[in-house]
């Protein structure tokens, strides 16, 4: 089979599998977010933590719950790393350093999973399992919980209640993430991903050297790494490591897993608001960007210029031979569009065009389809901005799904779209202004700049993938990127929850012939245009100095 045909078949199989899951998974999530019934085990949990599972919270209370939960998570994860040397199964690793532990704690709680450490050389099994894997579950669940409040803002009327965080969190973990993880972990194990509690095996190689082969509970962590759009690998090489991602099939499955929840959430949205067409419109916009990005990335990686690259048939530097440029491009596009940040190849070695696509994917704000929950709320906020301008053009004060978009709503939507670009650009600008920080760059010129831009874009958008090429373990980088991750995660959440609260209070306006239709192809096109223009205009100068300067000769 030619690589082109194989590439097409993989992509088509992926689209088919996602389409098959769209309805059942989306409906299932909608049900678990709306049902009044509690499972027995859930009741037990509510009793233990002292929560009334039937009482909804006002948005500020919901927000406080999110922030308090995340703060406790950060502290716990930090502590766990700092006392690693005293823990069981620590494989003899010493405690993680202060700023490294802070960076990693933030990184996993914010669903970024930026890794300034090498997994197999830093962390033992306890921290990996009790610390990182737990955050892989709950940080993904927090994203879905927050988008649930926004959807409730649209469905509810004249109320100040947007849901109960503890109930949402528990249900998403127990009813959605855990069962799916168990099933797909077994599939991964069956296909060669390791799952054990071994330490290192020293083996003699044919060349006469000794090689240290790591072990560990990889499959259980690998599955939620993708499913929860986390991306923090057990090993430093992430999904390029044969124990994490041994075959072409596991590679395809991992791409599927990291997309499946985010691509099904628009169905949940459609189901909850009682109009599936709205969900189709949103998923169409996500799909357009995903397909466009994957196509562009594949084009750049398979049509690389340069003598060596042409001889190899494609830009093969930094790519696993067992995956090839097609599967790597598909993976790279999907991971940068979903806030996952797992990689099955070195992004630093992508062609300038491919690297530019990866950066641009993240700059889109992780919305196509984005992180679990966060992707949908990002897209809905952009939909609000699109509706605001377009709604005026049909001669009405704008309304989306029956809710008026007035000053209050636009304030929160505007703050949302302002936050991430500000973090990314200010972060990059400051880094470029400080000579000491520039010294950490291994490359100079446009590519060096791209690396810094990539780092802040990845952290600010909670992606977590890295271009590498800069030494980011210095206190300055750990702190700066840590702050970028915290602000990039929680400021938008504050605005989304405030928006949800403001929408829930409104009484819906009935739709008429004069109402802007938000389920038609015209709106899909409009929203895509708004996404492209808002992002394009914000980042164009920075992109011009990085990937464009590199790629245009």
């Amino acid at each position: 089979m030619s690589s082109t045909l194989a590439g097409w078949l993989q992509a088509l199989a992926l689209v088919g599998a996602l389409a098959l899951c769209y309805r059942p998974l989306g409906d299932y999530i909608a049900k678990l977010l709306t049902t009044a019934k509690h499972l027995r085990v859930e009741r037990g949990i509510y009793k233990t933590i002292g929560v009334d599972g039937d009482a909804d919270q006002r948005w500020p209370v919901y927000l406080r719950s999110v922030l308090a939960f995340s703060l406790v998570s950060v502290l716990f994860l930090y502590l766990l790393q700092r006392i690693q040397n005293h823990l069981m199964l620590s494989l003899g690793f010493k405690a993680v350093g202060e700023h490294g532990a802070w960076n990693t704690a933030i990184s996993f709680v914010t669903n970024t999973n930026w890794q300034d450490y090498a997994g197999e050389a830093t962390l033992g099994h306890t921290v990996q399992m009790a610390g990182l894997a737990v955050q892989n579950f709950v940080s993904a669940a927090v994203g879905i919980a927050v988008v649930a409040t926004l959807i409730r803002g649209f469905t509810r009327s004249r109320t100040d209640r947007v849901g109960n965080f503890w109930v949402d969190l528990t249900r998403i973990c127990l009813r959605l993430l855990l069962p799916l993880s168990v099933v797909f972990a077994l599939v991964l194990v069956a296909n060669g991903v390791i799952q054990n509690f071994h330490g290192f095996h020293d083996l003699a190689t044919l060349g006469g050297d000794t090689q240290s082969i790591p072990g560990g509970p990889v499959a259980s962590q690998e599955v939620i790494k993708e499913l929860g759009t986390n991306g923090g690998g057990f090993f430093n090489a992430n999904s390029a490591h044969p124990f994490e991602n041994p075959t072409g099939f596991t590679n395809w499955l991992e791409v599927f897993l990291l997309l499946v929840i985010s691509f099904s959430l628009p169905r949940t949205f459609g189901k909850m608001i009682g109009d599936h067409r709205q969900g189709y419109a949103i998923v169409s916009v996500m799909g357009i960007f995903w397909a466009g990005s994957a196509a562009l990335m594949t084009f750049f990686e398979t049509h690389a210029s340069g003598v060596a690259l042409k001889a190899a048939g494609a830009a093969m530097e930094g790519k696993e031979v067992r995956f090839g440029p097609w599967a790597t491009s598909l993976f790279a596009s999907s991971t940068t569009l979903t806030s996952t940040g797992a990689v099955d190849g070195a992004h630093d070695s992508l062609t300038p065009g491919g690297g530019g696509v990866a950066i641009f994917d993240m700059m889109l704000g992780e919305i196509a389809p984005g992180g679990t929950g966060s992707g949908l709320y990002g897209m809905l906020v952009l939909a609000i901005v699109a509706v605001f301008v377009a709604g005026l053009m049909v001669g009405r004060t704008p309304e989306y799904l029956g809710k008026k978009l007035g000053g209050r709503e636009m304030k929160f939507a505007s703050l949302y779209i302002l936050t991430t670009p500000a973090i990314v650009l200010v972060g990059t600008g400051v880094a470029m202004a400080l000579p000491g920080e520039r010294a950490n760059m291994l490359n100079s010129g446009a590519h060096g700049f791209s690396e810094v831009l990539y780092a802040f874009t990845s952290a600010g958008n909670n992606n977590g993938s890295a271009f590498a090429g800069i030494t980011v373990t210095s206190p300055w980088w750990d702190t700066a990127l840590g702050l970028a991750m915290v602000f990039g995660r929680f400021l938008p959440m504050i605005f989304v929850l405030a928006l949800a609260g403001s929408l829930a209070q409104q009484q819906p306006v009935p739709a008429t012939e004069g109402t802007l239709p938000t389920h038609k192809p015209l709106f899909v096109g409009l929203l895509s245009g708004v996404v492209l223009i808002v992002v394009g205009l914000t980042y164009f100068p920075a992109l011009a100095l990085g990937p464009l300067a590199e790629g245009l000769h």
Binding site: G395, G402, T515, A542
Partner: protein
Amino acid sequence: MSTPTLTTPAQQEAAVHRVSSNLLDPKVLLAAVPDAVKKLDPRVMIKNPVMFVVEVGSVVTTVSAIADPSVFAWAITVWLWLTTIFANLAEAVAEGRGKAQAETLRRTKTDTMARRLLDWPASQAEEQVAATELQLGDHVVAEAGEIIPGDGDVVEGVASVDESAITGESAPVIRESGGDRSAVTGGTKVLSDRIVVKIASEPGKSFIDRMIALVEGAARQKTPNEIALNILLASLTIVFLVTVSALQPMAGFAGAPQTLIVLVALVVALIPTTIGALLSAIGIAGMDRLVQRNVLAMSGRAVEAAGDVNTLLLDKTGTITLGNRQAAEFQPAAGVSVDELANAAQLSSLADETPEGRSIVVLAKTDYGLRARAQGELTHATWVPFTAQTRMSGVDLDEADGVHSVRKGAAGSVTNWVTENGGTVGKDVAELVDGISAAGGTPLLVASRIGSAAPRALGVIYLKDVVKEGMKERFDELRRMGIKTIMITGDNPLTAKAIADEAGVDDFLAEATPEDKMALIKKEQEGGKLVAMTGDGTNDAPALAQADVGVAMNTGTMAAKEAGNMVDLDSNPTKLIEIVEIGKQLLITRGALTTFSIANDVAKYFAIIPAMFVSVYPGLSHLNIMALHSPKSAITSAIIFNALVIIGLIPLALRGVKYRPSDASSLLRRNILIYGFGGLVVPFIGIKAIDLIVQFIPGLR
């Protein structure tokens, strides 16, 4: 816009004159320049965050240009100042149009003296005071030739009043105590008789005062949607400020640090100056368009709400139907020809001066070719005119074979006449009468008698409400716009339904009382709908206040005018439809120019970014797709385009985007095509064209 409904040719002429009041006239622009410069005061500018940033940028470039002069620096500086002034000019022109109107109004307010009654009604003693000293509740007297000193209600007497100062309508109107024609407005002139007026406004808060404030824009407050849009524009401005601020260290790393002038130019090019400059002008012009149609909106909020209206409550009489019923058909009794009936009907109606009577004459003439005979023509006739008591009219003709009597009138009255004179009304005729009543019409019976023979019933005239021409199409249009129309009438449900069906309204409220109206409004609003209505009577006041858009007729009472949020000086209830269209047009203009403004940025990037960095990354010249001459000419051209586009769009902002009533999808498609894609393409052409000229200026090459 669809055709405004103007009643007289004079009004139409006046309106046409006002609408086309020289939008592009350079004289108007020049006259506004001093005001535009005055508005450069930072305390004024800060209210418009987008343009405030441009002004600060202008100051920064001025300082840089003085410190390090060059043709380029001064070119950018001058055009940035012009950008700010052009924005102020837009607002000044919009306000200027209102000021002229305010001036006319103010003239009516000059030094009127009032004859205040000291102890009315006990005595007629009076004193002379200045009109401005009148207090709420004072009684004043005004006689023929005098100016009414303040707003109020007539409590004694009846007078004809010239209200042309306010309405522009020269025909005098009757104002009388009690009822719904009691309100008078300060500044209007009594033409005949004497009235006593109870003052109903506090000093300085009279109707004229408010009108002046409104048309001048002094009372203008930002509307909710304007505030929301301002928030979006401010946040875009912040995003671009951050983008450009962060660019400098990146540029420094790339080896191409930029001058302050270039950075300011980039900021100004990117922030949404076009809409920022025109936003307030659009709002003022929207109010102004209402004023041109003789409607005063008490707040911009009401104009915006008009665009959102879901339900229109329309009074049947005068809005949907002509004021009076008209003859529609002759239905003969058995054995009588239609022509005979028509002839008799016409004869009997010649002495009926009511509109109904005249309509019978006209119907006989148009449908049956019977010439309307003048009363004097028939010398041997004795006319029986219509009176409210007899409810009949007719004629007695002295013919050779005896007196031919013809009578026409209410079915009961004519039946009495027939039976009193020994005749009987056949069962077939009674059925015709009942049939017309059942269909919601009014039956008029026609009978004749020759000599002393028993009279016989000839048949029935079908009088019905006549729906105004074009109303059905209007309602279809409204339905496409997503607006539901509800007809309000005092008729019984049967009649109401017949007219509602014919007019094509969506729903009707029959035998409506003010309480019913109120309940209907509340019911609609409960479902989240916005309701608009017109009203004139005092008992309409609560409903006018409850409605989201309440248009009071100027002929109505003071209470109604106080309760509504708009006043229609022409007192034309059909205008509600136009008001909705103006509201929509205002919002569309805002959205269209915002889209245009943001879409413009794409081209500006392609002009400026390659110009900034092509020296260090020659590959970026591929982005110079307009093939602009040099970095300096590219940046200058982008800034000049940015300024000129504001001037170019002032007429559009003042006139409003063309609005055709249609459904949301087609409106959106059309506007995205024009203002979205247009906004992408136009600046590419504009900047290139300017560059072709600018490149010949030494220092910008």
